[in-house]
Subunit: 290 residues, 2 copies
């Protein structure tokens, strides 16, 4: 069985097409879907994601309002910035980079209706309790009016759906990494689809053996070539949300792609581009609800 690259490009194009149509429909009613990005400080990760988001917004016609605060911002000033965005009727979704100071207070202040990255307690509870919904596809129960899933897990689902792995009832999905941003929330989405779900992590004794029983492996560790031949079996799919710097300075995922090609395992070269496409879809969805 030949390995296929589960490339982000086709997934992004499919999402963008729908988002662009929705943006045009909104603009014809006088509404310009607008994302506010709140950033504290100048972390390289944040700047990199922000750059991708600005490009993606430009492509699909979503407006962006940037709010940038210094790393030594005091709590009142930070919370007031969030409150201003809550009551700003021209802003439909708010992305706040993490980690940030006073993080819990910040997210408890954000209006859940503008939470387009599933970061508030209300969004977390909806995710955990099996509701919530992505904009395009998903189908994990009724879509609430005031919540979105976190964008990276939603992007992983969009990739699975696009490449025909979305019928997950009874399939075994094994996570490597049980982190709060990808593994845990995505596990809930997959349980909602009827998948059997296993969480492996740094303390798991026999991760390769468990992975070798999986239909789908999801990895989000950030360690190059972590997922090798002994984790794989022919016909598997690997969703690789890991990122680390390879020996040549380029960012690479967790998958040993030579091993994947050899065994016949399909894998994502990258998830990130889909994440920003999902972010824009969530903004448009929030704008449509208002």
């Amino acid at each position: 069985m030949a390995a296929t690259k589960l490339a982000a490009k086709a997934v992004v194009e499919g999402l963008n097409e729908k988002t662009i149509a929705a943006v045009e429909a909104l603009k014809s009613t006088g509404v310009t879907p607008t994302l506010a990005i709140l950033r504290v400080g100048e972390r390289a990760d944040d700047l990199s994601y922000e750059k991708g988001a600005l490009n993606r917004a430009n492509t699909v016609g979503v407006a962006v309002k940037q709010v940038i605060l210094p790393l030594d911002v005091d709590k009142d000033e930070l919370l007031n910035a969030v409150k201003s965005l809550n009551i700003d009727n021209t802003v439909h979704g708010v992305l706040i980079f993490r980690p940030l100071p006073f993080e819990a207070e910040v997210f408890n202040t954000l209006d859940p209706k503008k939470d387009i990255d599933g970061a508030t307690d209300a969004s977390t509870a909806l995710l955990f309790n099996g509701f919530g919904g992505t904009v395009f596809g998903g189908g994990e129960g009724p879509k609430p009016d005031n919540s979105a899933y976190p964008c990276t897990p939603a992007a992983c689902m969009a990739i699975l759906d696009h490449y025909g792995y979305g019928e997950l009832k009874g399939k075994h999905v094994v996570f490597v990494g049980s982190g709060l941003r990808v593994g845990r929330p995505l596990g809930m989405l997959l349980l909602n689809r009827g998948a059997t779900v296993t969480y492996c992590h740094e303390f798991t004794a026999n991760t390769p053996e468990i992975c070798a029983t999986a239909d789908v492996i999801v990895t989000a560790v950030g360690k190059a070539k972590l997922i090798g031949e002994k984790h794989m079996k022919p016909g598997q799919a690997i969703i690789d949300a890991g990122l680390s710097e390879g020996s040549d300075g380029k960012m690479v995922g967790d998958t040993d792609v030579d091993a994947a090609e050899k065994v016949g395992v399909s894998y994502t070269p990258s998830v990130g581009p889909v994440t920003t496409a999902i972010l824009m879809a969530h903004v448009v969805n929030a704008a449509s609800r208002l």
Copy 2:
């Protein structure tokens, strides 16, 4: 290896001893820890749990205030009952039976500080994000001031701790049933302890084989003898939160106890009594914080 019954009695006695000491300390300062039970209608399940809770409260010296509303209660009346309990300074914890009408609104109205069964969005988010804490033992990160875990998963943890299965780093825990009340929240607690966690359920093709690889099986399905010899290996522990009516009319768990005895698997005859002991501990904890 001989099978041991992981009896609730010893766990309850250990919990009660600490709760009684805490109640006495509070009473010496003029505070009587008080649980409010809000029940809508007369469901047999609710009445049975309520009876156990009243007995347990009596044993440990926790006062109980009962609020009973008719099944056709209107929304305002129900929400007002919750609001009254929120502002009643003599009430420290509120247990509300589910399912109930207007459930989401009811739990969004309840003050998270009085949520002693982990039912509010704030409690769910803390659980999912790896914080929260039980009163006695647990140790899954800092204990917040305003939240408790759901009582049944906390009871399962208390049983594991009491019988020496609490060191879970790298152990494989397999759930049968991925329900919202037991499986999902307990899975998060176990991930916080470093366990490898697998969720099996009705769509899982090979539940017996997966269970046979587990160090601990947690079952909460409600189907007698579901967990049989082919799920078991010597030395395992089974936490059985399932309940169904056996052929003789008695309530039984999901475990085939003859198979467990034969293979040499330790198992809980029941979890329920520990749940009410945990409930009282949560009430006392809430009273201690005020």
